[in-house]
């Protein structure tokens, strides 16, 4: 198995989007945001320069989790919520692979919430794409852990009574080393985020706002419509002051004495008080404050890379422990085993 211990370094292979399309018929509802994400991923993949056989997509259960069937790479469609756990075992034992997890808001945050936060705190070398449509698609429209309070669905005819998770706040609470958000409809932005995620060593958590046109249509319209999006969206750029709005009329500041960040009118703020985005801030508190900016009406929604810091991956730490132990050992494995069996208190009968 030559090459199994090598890291997933890009090697020169010329592939095209077509190479990443599998022969399976795509079966999402017409108009589903998942199509756009699939196309964006398929056309981005060649950029990685990684041969298809070294790429694996692991998913849970949900509409979004059908994703691996459509990628002409290795793929594992697993069980509800468990993809991060399964992918952890794969990634840790196969450092030569590029392992991607595709999950939904129910899959990742309800049934699989535990695995998600633990993968993130361990910093497993996984690229986790959470397709957030704020609804259970596959089971036909129940509210999800990202649905807004009071959401009326099949299972909540008079409105849901539980407050939603903010997926990015959750990931940051788990001290994820790479946290980003993007939108299904903006292919260029989506691909720029995927690119940054792919380059990150450790867990990269990407929330993708995805429209479920059947059960939660228009959930992100304000972020997409030409008339509103510029005033609603904050496009984060590393090293740039955070201003937004059609005419840059809004900005983000850190009010003295406050805990978090707030949005102000640019005109009312001295330019050196505008926060300059730095994804590399070691303390997750800054990115957390960014994640708290949007209101329920989706105003002030940052997209882009919130946080990107360097911390050894779990894979690397585990791998180096095993390698260090192997390096110290002498003799063939059989000889070592014989030595181990006869270690401790033994006695011999002749």
């Amino acid at each position: 198995m030559a090459g199994r211990d090598a890291p997933a370094a890009p090697v020169a292979v010329k592939l095209t989007m077509k190479d990443f399309k599998s022969d399976q018929e795509v079966r999402w509802c017409p108009g589903c945001g998942d199509y756009a994400i699939l196309a964006a991923v398929q056309s981005f993949m060649p950029e990685l320069g990684i041969p298809r056989e070294r790429i694996v997509f692991v998913s849970g259960i949900g509409c979004s989790s059908r994703f691996p069937y459509y990628m002409n790479t290795y793929g594992l469609h697993s069980i509800h919520g468990r993809a991060p756990a399964i992918a952890t075992g794969l990634s840790v034992s196969r450092p030569d692979l590029s392992v991607w997890v595709v999950t939904g808001d129910g899959d990742a945050l309800s049934i699989g919430g535990n695995h998600l936060i633990h993968a993130l705190r361990r910093n497993v070398n996984l690229k986790i794409l959470l397709f957030n449509n704020r609804i259970y698609g596959l089971t036909k429209g129940q509210y999800s852990p990202t649905s807004e309070l009071g959401k009326i669905t099949k299972s909540t005819p008079v409105g849901s009574a539980d407050s939603p998770f903010n997926p990015l706040s959750l990931a940051l609470g788990a001290e994820a080393t790479f946290v980003a958000r993007t939108i299904d409809s903006d292919r260029k932005h989506l691909q720029s985020v995927l690119r940054a995620a792919a380059e990150h060593e450790g867990s990269a958590f990407v929330e993708i706002y995805q429209n479920c046109n059947i059960f939660n249509d228009g959930a992100f319209d304000e972020l997409k419509d030409a008339g509103t999006r510029d005033d609603y969206l904050i496009r984060l750029e590393h090293g740039q002051p955070i201003t937004f709005g059609k005419d840059g009329q809004f900005c983000v500041v850190h009010p003295p004495g406050g805990f978090g960040l707030e949005v102000r009118e640019t005109a009312s703020v001295s330019p050196d008080h505008i926060v300059v985005h730095d994804a590399g801030v070691a303390e997750p508190a800054y990115a957390f404050a960014l994640s708290r900016l949007p209101g329920e009406d989706l105003r002030n929604t940052p997209i882009g890379v919130f946080r990107q810091v360097s911390r050894p991956s779990y894979d690397n730490l585990v791998h180096s422990q095993v390698e260090a132990a192997k390096a110290k050992a002498t003799g063939t494995p059989e000889e070592q085993l014989a030595g181990l069996l006869t270690s401790g208190d033994t006695w011999t009968i002749i």
């Binding site: 198995m1 090459g3 199994r4 599998s22 399976q24 041969p51 298809r52 056989e53 070294r54 694996v56 692991v58 259960i61 691996p68 069937y69 990628m71 290795y74 793929g75 594992l76 469609h77 697993s78 069980i79 468990r82 756990a85 399964i86 992918a87 952890t88 075992g89 794969l90 990634s91 840790v92 034992s93 196969r94 030569d96 692979l97 535990n114 695995h115 633990h118 585990v318 422990q321 095993v322 260090a324 132990a325 192997k326 110290k328 050992a329 494995p333 059989e334 070592q336 085993l337 014989a338 181990l340 069996l341 006869t342 401790g344 208190d345 033994t346 006695w347 011999t348 009968i349 002749i350």
Partner: protein, 615 residues
């Protein structure tokens, strides 16, 4: 003073004290000394789940029983010949198991009014004549230990704590045990605190010398070495043997091992042990829960490792959905269930065999897996290698059912020659297998084993997608075709039935038996001992023991039908008996006890005698 030396063929000693008295360690050391001497041994630790139950109370009693003999033995012994009772609670909790005439060594220092009251003695049993039928040796274990350590630079508390070494020294003298290994052990254990090395060795020697000088112990005993097959031995617990067997599986398969586990009694020791042996390419992961533990193991198996997860019953319940996924994916996976008394948290440190139903049937859909059970501590080594073999060659989950009794009990183990262990190497798929020479069919099967190719990521040209949705035969594409589903369900069942397992062997020395005792797993020892005892008394009885519970041995039906009566003792309410009745239409007689303790040979003997005599 020269003491009389008496020869014995077998002895059962039980060390009992408070959880904090170090009885497990004392028992372990005595066992180790005994092993050095070449006696056959079997041990039974019995301890509470609480780390420190209130001192001096009945729930806080911890004990360790060791049975040693000059011939081969099968159980830790039904009844102790000697009880070491470190306090009134230990005496009270264990007295009921002692036959009249047994020796009791009591630590009189602990028989204070307060301690007696804690366990409901209004008068000391040492004074009210209630122990008249026993041979009682009152010894001031604590005070004599403290006295012996007067010149040592240790605190009073540390001196008192060394009383277990005094007791060990006394017993080692009584049974003429070689004690060098204990001295070395103490030197290693307390290497960081040399003053404790000295104190513990001094306490041990004080106990030994006390035996030699006091008139209370007039006789010293010897038990000659057992006649055992030539070779090198070590004493081994079931959990340690499982860990070694997993390492052996790594070596013999030339595959990396990935162990995912979440701590749970009585399985955690396997994780602890394996985490020390990374040099064999063993990766251990303490996962966030049992579902993640098996998930990670399955992910590693998908990537070409030998994936293993170790747990106890509650953990297996959580893993059920992932085991079903592994059935659908047809990937190798080994699941170790060290059974404990349930349901729910039950009695976590006590033994039971009540997870057989769960192992055989406890999943959604038709999800058959292979099931295998070791019969003794050392057999765990070979059983897990067998589980790995089945998993790897047949690409299936395999559940290994150990239990607390084999996991923590110990026996001498004749160390195998590494080269004699089975070759577990398997081949990964490396090229397309379709007729056109370019397509890859992930569900095209080996005609003999019905196993599908193990095509691991990284292999160019074999990119494919698999998952839990039903797959079309051969192509593995998603399929909702009714006939295909029916075919795949039957094929998954046939795959398990296609696993080659050896015929079950019957031990029926005179060939006259009309009654067969059938067991599985850890009941082997007590059943075997009961059968021996019956035969010695002139009765005929046959014994068969199942290692493979799925698939069952091919000859089992025939074996069962060739006896008039079949008796099935189990530490559950008749789970194997149920299977046997359903599958072979044999009117088996179940014999069931669920007390958290192994069967005694005596109770099985009297039950079987009744069946043999009265049918």
């Amino acid at each position: 003073m020269t003491k009389q030396v008496r020869q014995l063929d077998r002895v059962v000693i039980r060390f009992a004290g408070d959880s904090g008295d170090g009885m497990q360690l004392t028992g372990d050391r005595f066992t180790s000394e005994t092993a050095q001497l070449g006696n056959d041994i079997s041990t039974l630790p019995n301890f509470p789940a609480e780390i420190r139950a209130p001192a001096g109370t009945l729930p806080g009693v911890s004990s360790f029983q060791v049975h040693f003999a000059d011939y081969d033995i099968l159980t830790p012994g039904d009844a102790p010949n000697v009880l070491v009772a470190m306090n009134p609670a230990a005496l009270k909790a264990n007295l009921g198991d002692l036959p009249r005439g047994a020796a009791i060594i009591v630590n009189t220092d602990e028989f204070t009014k307060r301690n007696l009251a804690k366990v409901g003695y209004s008068v000391s049993p040492l004074e009210d004549g209630s122990l008249d039928g026993y041979s009682v040796h009152p010894v001031g274990l604590t005070s004599m230990t403290v006295g012996a350590l007067a010149d040592h630079d240790v605190s009073k508390k540390d001196a008192e704590r060394a009383k277990n070494m005094f007791a060990l020294g006394l017993l080692s003298w009584m049974y003429s045990r070689p004690y060098e290994s204990t001295i070395t052990f103490l030197e290693r254990k307390f290497a960081a605190r040399p003053e404790l090395v000295g104190a513990n060795i001094a306490a041990f020697k004080a106990g030994w010398n006390f035996g030699e000088t006091t008139e209370d112990f007039a006789v010293r005993y010897e038990v000659k070495p057992a006649k055992m097959a030539p070779g090198t031995y070590r004493n081994i617990t079931g959990n340690a043997a499982l860990a070694l067997g997993i390492i052996a599986s790594a070596v013999r398969s030339k595959l990396p091992v990935f162990l995912g586990a979440y701590p749970i009694t009585p399985a955690s020791d396997i994780l602890h042990e394996l985490s020390k042996h990374k040099r064999f390419g063993v990766t251990t992961m303490q996962a966030e829960d049992e579902i993640a533990a098996i998930g990670a193991a399955l992910g590693a198996a998908y990537g070409g490792a030998l994936g293993i997860t170790t747990t106890s019953g509650p953990g297996v319940a959580l893993k059920g959905e992932t085991i079903s996924l592994a059935v659908a994916l047809e990937l190798p996976l080994v699941i170790v269930d060290v059974q404990r008394a349930g349901p729910s948290t039950g009695m976590p440190t006590k033994t039971e065999q009540a997870d057989l139903n769960m192992a055989l049937f406890g999943r959604h859909g038709e999800a058959p897996v292979a099931v295998i059970a070791p019969k003794s501590p050392s057999d765990c080594f070979h059983a897990i290698i067998e589980a790995s073999r089945i998993a790897l060659t047949h690409r299936t989950p395999v559940i290994l059912l150990s239990d607390n009794y084999v996991a923590n009990g110990s026996e001498p183990w004749l160390l195998p020659d590494v080269e004699s262990l089975p070759d577990l190497t398997v081949e990964f798929a490396s090229a397309p297998n379709g007729e056109d020479g370019t397509t890859f069919l992930p569900y095209l099967r080996d005609p003999e084993t019905l196993a599908r190719p193990w095509a691991i990521p990284g292999t160019a040209g074999l990119e494919h997608r698999i998952g839990g949705l039903e797959k079309a035969d051969k192509t593995g594409d998603i399929s909702y075709d009714p006939a295909n589903h029916d075919f795949m369900v039957r094929t998954r069942a046939a795959r398990i039935e296609a696993i080659q397992v050896p015929d079950v062997e019957v031990e029926d020395p005179d060939g006259e038996a009309r009654v067969l005792v059938l067991g599985w797993g850890s009941t082997y020892g007590p059943i075997g001992a009961a059968c021996r005892a019956l035969r010695q008394r002139g009765h005929s009885v046959a014994q068969a023991h199942l290692r493979h519970l799925a698939p069952l041995p091919g000859n089992l039906g025939e074996v069962l039908k060739s006896y008039d009566r079949v008796v099935i003792p189990e530490m559950n309410l008749g789970q194997l008996a149920h299977v046997v009745r359903a599958r072979y239409l044999v009117d088996a007689i179940p014999y069931n006890k669920v007390r958290g303790l192994p069967f005694t040979a005596a109770e099985l003997e009297s039950m079987l005698e009744d069946v043999v005599k009265n049918g």
